[in-house]
């Protein structure tokens, strides 16, 4: 039997200062079958939502003035928000230059989708972060999904155990 994702069993939090963008992401999730979608429009609202609700998947914009979505990602990965440190995090942002993508990756994001995005890319990433959880790396300088996308042979010093 083919596998399915039951989005009604997943609690989402969308963080986006742009009301229409947040509404659209919420409506797409509801159409995919989600029933619990929290929405926050700022860093502070997001922290409050994370602390007072069970959230399984976080979708966040990087541009959250006066704070940054990177701060939010780091807060989740540090375990200070009360939820799972290994919560899947999808960044949805128009700040999509290479530097921003690398910064998000190094803050511990699970997936990145650049705005403007298409519904196919959105669906594929939502399915992927739930159906294909990634291994995590815990080190002094980084806590987040394993950033290696390709498995290359390495037998040098400090190889991860």
């Amino acid at each position: 039997m083919a596998e399915k994702v039951d989005f009604s069993l997943v609690h989402f939090l969308i963080v986006d200062g742009n009301q229409l963008s947040a509404d659209l992401a919420r409506d797409l999730l509801l159409t995919m079958g989600a029933t619990t979608v929290f929405v926050a429009h700022s860093y502070d609202e997001a922290i409050a939502a994370l602390k007072s609700n069970v959230v399984d998947v976080l979708l966040t914009e990087l541009h959250l003035p006066p704070r940054s979505g990177l701060d939010l990602i780091r807060e989740v990965r540090s375990g200070k928000t009360g939820g799972s440190r290994q919560m899947p995090i999808l960044v949805m942002s128009a700040l999509s230059a290479k530097d921003h993508v690398f910064e998000a990756r190094d803050a511990g994001v699970t997936e990145f989708i650049a705005k403007p995005y298409g519904v196919e890319g959105f669906y594929r990433r939502m399915v992927g972060i739930i159906a294909h959880p990634r291994a995590f790396v815990d080190s002094d300088k980084y806590y987040g999904p394993d950033r290696r996308r390709r498995q290359l042979p390495y037998d040098g010093p400090d190889r991860r155990q």
Binding site: E3, V5, L9, V57, K115
Partner: protein, 163 residues
């Protein structure tokens, strides 16, 4: 100096175990029927997006005029243009206004990190705003046509030369 030691933690399967099954929910691969429903959601939000985009463009034009009137600093205007062009970039292509997103991207790259503009740079900024106005007023969707392509190429060339 030694590299930081790190541990590789296995994937947490709890969410997958809860949400993935073989009976209820959405197929892992997007089906044509679900794709149509998702596209309908986007279509339904299109008009609200267009109204919002038009309001953002008015805000940009007003800020330019306010600077010309001497009632706003260039630095404040550039911060506003950065924010608004980023939003326009993110919103335009989502509802099919790809060329709008492309112009907004050029504008956003142009103003990023700037705190002041010379006369020519100020005109380049205004040209971007005017071009986006035309896209919205004429409802130019997708990537536009030959003319839009030429306008975009011209804006990019101006940014390269005077940016």
């Amino acid at each position: 100096m030694t590299a930081a030691k790190s541990k590789l933690l296995p994937p947490v399967e709890e969410l997958r175990a809860r949400a993935v099954n073989s009976r209820t929910g959405m197929d892992l691969r997007l089906s044509p029927a679900v794709l149509r429903r998702l596209e309908e959601v986007v279509n339904e939000s299109r008009e609200r997006f267009v109204i919002d985009l038009a309001a953002r463009l008015r805000k940009l034009r007003t800020s330019v005029q306010t600077v010309l009137d001497g009632d706003m600093t260039q630095q404040d205007m550039l911060a506003l243009v950065f924010d608004e062009s980023l939003q326009i970039k993110g919103m335009g292509g989502t509802i099919g206004y790809n060329v709008l997103s492309l112009i907004a991207t050029t504008l956003n790259d142009f103003v990023a990190g700037r705190t002041e503009l010379g006369r020519i740079q100020f005109e380049i900024l205004q040209l971007h705003i005017d071009a986006m106005y035309v896209v919205i007023a004429d409802r130019i969707t997708d990537n536009g046509g030959i003319l839009e392509d030429q306008v975009l190429s011209g804006l990019r060339a101006a940014v390269r030369k005077f940016g």
